[in-house]
């Protein structure tokens, strides 16, 4: 590895951070300038994420350990780039560019500091994906949450403030759980570096082990709240459906962040030793309960926004359940499912706003929002000067159908491929010829049932919206709003076409993850840059 690509690891944190700081210098009225800065930063971020992803997916993948401040690993804090974090960085960057472009049509103008908060959210997300240290994870988590509080309230209005207040209260409590967990783990093991923890946990004495496991459990609760595991999920559908469309679009990845951390920590800390398999039952049964709750919610929701919110729970439940059975090939299918469902949900959240714009209820909410903020009507960049989409209703309908296909897991899109990969791996978990055991069967049935439920719900809503709508009003939709949705949906299509290479990448990632010694050795053997140290020692006397 050469020098510049090594420093590239920290770029996903620095680029949006600098952009957010720069954005604060400009007045709210210079909207075009702010949008350009934000867009440029996100585009560069996407480039960096692509570069890092390419480096990671090369056959001779380098173990990207970045020592911040040139301090050796267990003492200083580290950033670690491996297959999983590179994948999540790319996912976050793709979602960011799509939702940002979508917001430029009108949503970025309905409140203050949208772009700064958006960039800070990216700082927190990327930092949480890259960090190799538990306390640093807390800091990045809080950075991300603080920005998400602001974004949640973006656009204001009674509904958003109410949902936002619940969202903030729940997440503040989750942050306290996080702190209790981290401090218990520090108190029992004496370290917060993830690699160091992984090496120490198998050797910990039995009288401290229980306390350490309690700490890990409390820590897990914090992430399960974020991921929306039943019964910690009641805030989620309300919050996601009340948030403005581009915000809900980027929020689709926040619940996946919880899942990422759980995947990372269980694979790293509890893969062998006396604590092996810690918490997997909780994930399995909690995931099942979440899936059932989400499925019932999907069937019961009248409003499109709530349907999407419950779909987030369905996707979280599926992921958690699969992590609970912790089986290599199943997990790589689940990773593909994570990518596919994140794209789908993000596209769906944005699509909902466009579809509902034609209906009275949605239009009213938007009008109230504009009124509440007080500058909707006379904003200099009203949507009148944008280019409207020709054949709006046909394209909206097609996108809606694609979302339905993706959510229910029908061919030909990637929802099918990823569910197929998971289910076929589950069928084959036992020895050849023996049928899978009860838990696996339950799981398979639940996943298929949730797909059927999504299909029913989406068909019902689709018929009501596109076929039997009485008003016959066609929503005014700009090209700039539909292109991001189509972009995300086309990504799922390309994920289907490139399913082979994608699955290979997921397999490699999961294989690396299930051998924690690779991660541990990489962090422990990371050497400080000598030249710099020698220079500073020369300078000091």
């Amino acid at each position: 590895m050469n020098d510049w690509s090594h420093h590239l690891i920290i770029a996903p944190i620095l680029i949006p951070l600098m952009a957010a700081a720069l954005l604060l210098f400009f007045d709210e009225r210079k909207r075009t300038l702010k949008a350009m800065i934000s867009l440029a930063s996100t585009a560069i971020l996407l480039l960096v994420a692509l570069l890092l992803f390419r480096i990671e997916s090369a056959p001779h993948s380098f173990e990207g350990v970045y020592l911040l401040g040139n301090w050796a690993a267990p003492f200083g804090i580290v950033l670690v780039l491996d297959g999983l974090s590179a994948l999540m960085l790319l996912l976050a960057a793709l979602l960011a560019i799509a939702t940002l472009v979508f917001s430029l049509a009108r949503w970025h103008a309905v409140g203050a500091h949208f772009h700064s908060m958006f960039q800070i959210l990216l700082v927190g997300l990327n930092g949480a994906f890259l960090t190799g240290d538990l306390f640093n994870l807390f800091v990045f988590f809080e950075v991300m949450l603080a920005a998400s509080y602001g974004l949640m309230l973006h656009g204001s209005g009674p509904l958003r403030v109410k949902a936002g207040m619940h969202y903030i209260a729940v997440n503040l409590v989750a942050a306290l759980f996080f702190l209790i967990g981290v401090s218990l783990i520090y108190g029992t093991t004496g370290t917060l570096n993830m690699a160091d923890l992984a090496a120490r946990i198998p050797q910990i004495e039995p009288d401290r082990r229980m306390l350490m496991e309690a700490g890990a459990g409390v820590l897990g609760v914090a992430f399960l709240i974020k991921a929306g595991m039943w019964p910690l999920c009641f805030w989620l559908p309300t919050a996601y459906s009340a948030a403005s469309a581009p915000v809900a679009g980027i929020f689709a990845i926040l619940s996946k962040l919880g899942i990422y951390v759980i995947l990372r920590l269980t694979m790293l800390l509890f893969s062998d030793g006396p604590s092996a398999g810690f918490g997997s039952d909780v994930l399995l049964f909690g995931g099942m309960a979440t899936l059932v709750f989400g499925t019932i919610g999907v069937l019961a929701s009248q409003a499109l926004g709530r349907l999407a919110g419950y779909s987030v729970l369905v996707s979280s439940g599926t992921m958690l359940m699969v992590l609970g059975i912790s089986e290599g090939t199943v997990s790589s299918g689940a990773l593909l499912y994570l990518i596919s469902s994140t794209f789908t949900l993000s596209a769906f959240f944005m699509l909902i706003e466009l579809v509902e714009r034609g209906q009275d209820a949605g239009a009213n909410v938007l009008a109230v929002t504009m009124e509440a903020y007080g500058e909707g009507e006379d904003s200099p960049e009203d949507d009148e000067d944008g280019v409207t989409m020709p054949g709006t209703l046909a394209i909206l309908g097609t996108c809606f159908a694609a979302c339905g296909i993706l959510l229910s897991g029908l061919p030909p899109l990637s929802g099918f491929i990823s569910k197929f990969a998971m289910l076929s791996a589950m069928m084959g978990t036992g020895a050849i010829g023996t049928p899978p055991d009860g838990a696996i069967w339950t799981l398979i049935v639940l996943v298929i049932l949730s797909g059927v439920a999504s299909l029913i719900a989406m068909t019902r809503v689709g018929i009501r919206t596109f076929w039997s709508s009485l008003e016959g009003t066609v929503p005014r939709v700009l090209v700039i709003e539909l292109v991001p949705v189509m972009f995300l949906l086309s990504l799922t299509l390309s994920l289907t076409i490139q399913a082979g290479p994608a699955m290979r990448y997921m397999d490699t990632t999961i294989r690396t993850l299930s051998t924690p010694s690779i991660y541990i050795d990489a962090v422990r053997n990371a050497t400080v840059v000598e030249g710099w140290k020698a220079k500073s020692q020369e300078a000091s006397p």
Partner: protein, 112 residues
């Protein structure tokens, strides 16, 4: 010393949990503040309760006679973050009060 600290943490946590389950927004924020004080003390406590010991490592000094500096650094970060988020939550409370006209967490008065 340990006994006093743990009783204090337990008492504050108990009060905090009771308060965040109350229906008024002001009670919720006081509850959250109490909980975060309790958690901050808890973090401080996991490094071992030692009084009058410096957290600074020096050559030739037995590490057992020093306080653990890491929890102190952690608690500082936790205080700053907790303070900022509490301030933000206060603003949201005020916005909610202004928009709904009352201070119920669901924005409505419960039926009498």
């Amino acid at each position: 010393m340990e006994l006093v600290l743990s009783i204090a943490i337990g008492l504050m946590t108990g009060c905090g949990v009771w308060l965040i389950l109350r229906p008024r927004t002001y009670q919720v924020i006081v509850g959250l503040s109490l909980l975060s004080y309790a958690v901050n003390l808890f973090i401080f406590g996991v490094g071992g309760v030692k009084s009058n010991l410096p957290p600074i490592l020096e050559d030739g000094v037995d590490p057992a006679s020093l306080a653990d500096p890491v929890p102190q650094a952690l608690v500082l970060t936790a205080i700053v973050i907790g303070f900022a988020t509490t301030a933000l939550f206060l603003v949201v409370l005020l916005a909610s009060r202004g928009l709904t006209g009352n201070d119920h967490v669901d924005g409505r008065n419960e039926p009498k």
